[in-house]
Symmetry: C2
Subunit: 433 residues, 2 copies
C-alpha cells in the first residue's frame, strides 16, 4: 500500500536510477546532416580546414591597401585608380599596386596586395584622368581604413582542427548550417533509444473500442509515446496487459529484450501496483531501486534497473503518468542519448495569481494556464526584474488530475520539497508542456 | 544600395506581410491521432460523451453511503458490513443498502446506493459478527465522509458537447492523450505549408562539392529547411541559382507554382539584392511590400506577396538569414497553419553580463551564451523576482555574424527599436534557438 512506501526525494531518486545504469557511450549511426535536426551528435565534429578559407570582404566597397587611405577624410579626400572588380566565386586575377583599388562585394575574396576594404558609402566614383588615349576611373576615398578593416581573415570563423560541435549536442538548424559550411554532409548521431510502453489495468481498453460501463480507454500508451518521441526516443507500444502477475511478467520480459528501457503504467488498484513491483523483481538485478517518491502527483512511482536496462513503473493516472515521465523518463532518454545539457530547459517566468499550498517534504507539481499581464504603465514601483515578467500563472485545480485539466494548461509549476506553499504575487518558473 | 532603402519597423513589416495574404482557413487532412504530435488542429474537437462516463472512485477504499459515516471519528468509530468488491472494468452488480460498504479501487465504478468513498487509511477491517452460520467481515470507519467525497462525477472532466480542443492548437502529448480518452483516434490537422527555398550567389556551391578558392558552400538552404521543418512547414530545397535575373525569375516562377510560399536568400553583392527584388516584381501583384527593415542583422530583407503567396527575400549572410527567418518565416508558417498562440514562446530570463550598445530606431538581435549564475547564498539584498534569475547572458560578438558564432550560442536577445543599448546587470529575455 502506498502509505507504507519509503519515499525518496525526487532528485535523489533520479540520481539513483542513472548511476545504476552502465556508463557507456551511446550507440551511434551515420545520418545525412540535413536529416539530423533534433538528433544528438555521437562524436566531436572537428574542422578539416579553416573558415573562411580565403580573406573575404564583409561589406560592399573597394579593396584597398590601408596605407593608401591614411589621412583621408571628407574634407580632404584621397583618390585611388579603379583597376577592376572582384568576381564572386573566383580568385581575383588582379595584383593590387599602390594607388589602386578594386570593386568588391560582400563575401568577395581580397586580391593580393589588398589588406582592407572601404565601404561604398565612404567613397564616390569620379570619371577622370585621361591616361594615354582612354579615361581611367578614379574613386574618391572620404575615410581612412586600418589594416584588416571590413575583412574576414582566414580561420576567423573556425580554425583547422578545432572542435566546433561537441559529442552530445542536440542538433539545431544552426548546427546543420555549420556542418554544411564545412562540407560535412553526413554526421554521426546517437541512435534513438527504444522505449517500450506497457499499460496495465483490467478496466483499460484500446482507444478504438467502445467502453462498456466500468471501462476506460487507454490514454497513457499514446501520451507517453508522444512524450518519448519528442524527447528523442523511439517508443514502442506493447498495448494493455491485465492486472495479472504472470501476464505482466511475460509482457515485460519480451519488452525488455527488445528495448533499451521500458515503462509500465500501473493499474489503478493498490494490488496492481504491487504486481508491477513484483514483475520487475523477476526481470533481473539490481531490480527496484526506488518505490515511492516525495512528489505529487506520482508518489507510487517505481524506478528500477534490471540487467543494465531501466524499468520505470508509472502511476496509472494519466496526468501523474505524464508529469512523472517528463521528470524521469525524459532525463533517462537524454542520458541514453549522451546529451550534454549546455543550457536550461526553457521556461516562462510568471506571477502566481493565487496562494497555492503544499505539504513540506513533498515536491508538488501544479498545472497552470499562462495569461498576459495587463500592464499599468503608470506603475513605477515595480523593479526592473519584475518589468520583464509579462505573464500570470493561474493554477488549474481539479479533483483528480483529469486529462483535460492538463489539456487546458500551458505548463507546470513546482513547489519544492522544503516549502509549504507559494503565495499569490510570487514569481514562479513555468515549465512549458 | 541598402543605404537608400526605406526602412520599416519589424512589427509593422510582419503586419504588412500577413495582412496582404488572403485570409482563409488552412487546408487540412485527416491523420491518425497518435501521429499528430506537433501538428496543428484543423477543427474544433467536440466531445460526443462525458468523461468520466460513470461515477469513479479517486482513491483506494470503501464505497459507502455518506450518511452511514456521519459522526464517525477515531475515538468513536462506526462499523459497516463489507458486502463485496468492485471489480475493475465491470459495472458492480451490488446495490448498496444502508449499513454496508464495498471495497473499491482507484478508478473503480461506484455501485448504486453509494455516494462517497472512504480512504483505506481511514478504516480498518475487523473479522467479526457471526450471522447465521458464517462470519461476515466488518469495516471500522474512523472518519466521516460527505456526499461526493473521493468521487469523480459523470462529466467532471468534460461534458458532452464541450469544445475540448480548439482549431488552431499545436498538438502536445497531452492533446493526444485527451483525444484517446474520447476515442478520437483520427483527427483533422492543418496540412504543412510547403515552403520553397532558393539560394542565389555566383560564389555558392553545393555543400558536397569542394570549393575552389573564392567559392563557399551553401549553408542557407539547409539551415532554413531545418528551421521551416521545426516550425511545422514542409521545406523544398530548389538549390543554388546564380546572380542572373533570367535564371532567378524562372526558378522563382517554378517554385511559387509548386509551393505555398517561397524564400530567396540573396546573393551577397548589392547588385544581386536588386536582382531578387526585380525577380519578385515579375511574380505577380501586389509584389514587394517591404524592402528594408530597421533591424540588425537583416536590414536588406524583402517581404512581398505575389498573387496570394508570400515571397521573402532574406539576406545571404547565414546568421542574418536564420535570424530573419525566425522572425518572419516562422510567424508566416504559423499563420498559414492557422495556429492560435495561447501562450508565449518560451524564453529564459538572464542577467546580461556586459554593456551592449545599439542604435536608436533599429532593433538589434544579439547572439548570447547562457551560463549558470554562481549564487552567493548570503546575498539577501536581491529581491524576489531576481531570485528566480539563474542565468547569465554573455553576448557572443564576432565581426560578421559567422555561422559558428551562432553555433556557440544558446539564444538571441533583442534590443528594442527605442533603446540605444542594454547595461550590464539588466535582465534580458533570451529566445532559445
Amino acid at each position: 500500500m502506498p502509505e507504507f512506501l519509503h519515499l525518496t526525494p525526487p532528485k535523489e531518486a533520479l540520481q539513483k536510477l542513472l548511476t545504476n545504469l552502465e556508463v557507456r557511450n551511446p550507440r551511434s549511426e551515420i545520418l545525412e546532416t540535413r536529416h539530423a535536426l533534433g538528433r544528438v551528435t555521437g562524436e566531436d565534429i572537428i574542422t578539416s580546414h579553416p573558415l573562411p578559407e580565403f580573406p573575404r570582404s564583409t561589406v560592399d566597397g573597394y579593396a584597398v591597401n590601408a596605407q593608401d587611405t591614411f589621412g583621408c577624410s571628407e574634407s580632404l579626400p584621397g583618390y585611388l585608380t579603379l583597376v577592376g572588380e572582384v568576381i564572386m566565386g573566383k580568385k581575383p586575377s588582379i595584383l593590387l599596386t599602390p594607388g589602386s583599388c578594386t570593386l568588391i562585394h560582400t563575401g568577395g575574396m581580397l586580391p593580393d596586395g589588398a589588406n582592407a576594404v572601404i565601404m561604398l558609402e565612404d567613397t564616390q566614383t569620379v570619371q577622370s584622368r585621361k591616361e594615354r588615349n582612354s579615361y581611367s576611373q578614379e574613386v574618391e576615398i572620404r575615410h581612412a581604413v586600418t589594416e584588416g578593416e571590413n575583412v574576414l581573415q582566414v580561420g576567423e570563423d573556425v580554425e583547422k582542427g578545432e572542435i566546433v560541435i561537441r559529442a552530445g549536442t542536440r542538433v539545431r538548424p544552426v548546427e546543420i548550417g555549420g556542418c554544411m559550411a564545412l562540407g560535412i554532409v553526413n554526421m554521426r548521431v546517437a541512435i534513438k533509444p527504444i522505449i517500450g510502453i506497457i499499460s496495465t489495468g483490467d478496466e483499460i481498453i484500446h482507444p478504438e473500442k467502445k467502453p462498456r460501463i466500468g471501462q476506460v480507454r487507454d490514454i497513457n500508451s499514446y501520451s507517453l509515446a508522444a512524450l518519448i518521441d519528442s524527447a528523442g526516443g523511439n517508443p514502442i507500444i506493447y498495448g494493455v496487459v491485465s492486472d495479472n502477475l504472470e501476464q505482466l511478467k511475460s509482457a515485460a520480459k519480451k519488452a525488455i529484450s527488445e528495448c533499451d528501457a521500458i515503462v509500465i503504467t500501473a493499474g489503478s488498484s493498490a494490488s496492481s501496483r504491487d504486481t508491477t513491483a513484483e514483475a520487475i523483481a523477476h526481470l533481473g538485478e539490481p531490480g527496484v531501486l526506488v518505490h515511492g517518491i516525495n512528489i505529487r502527483p506520482g508518489k507510487p512511482t517505481i524506478l528500477s534497473v534490471c540487467t543494465g536496462k531501466a524499468v520505470i513503473g508509472l502511476p496509472g493516472n494519466p496526468v501523474s503518468a505524464l508529469v512523472i515521465a517528463s521528470l524521469f523518463v525524459v532525463p533517462l532518454i537524454e542520458y541514453l542519448l549522451g546529451l550534454r545539457l549546455t543550457h536550461p530547459h526553457s521556461t516562462v517566468l510568471a506571477k502566481l495569481n493565487i496562494n497555492v499550498s503544499s505539504q513540506a517534504g513533498r515536491e508538488d507539481w501544479i498545472a497552470v494556464k499562462i495569461l498576459p499581464i495587463s500592464r499599468n504603465h503608470q506603475d513605477s514601483s515595480r523593479n526592473q526584474a519584475e518589468e520583464e515578467i509579462n505573464w500570470i500563472a493561474e493554477p488549474i485545480f481539479s479533483k483528480s488530475n483529469l486529462i483535460f485539466s492538463l489539456v487546458k494548461s500551458d505548463g507546470l509549476i513546482c513547489i519544492p520539497l522544503e516549502r509549504t506553499g507559494i503565495s499569490a504575487g510570487e514569481i514562479v518558473e513555468v515549465s512549458i508542456i
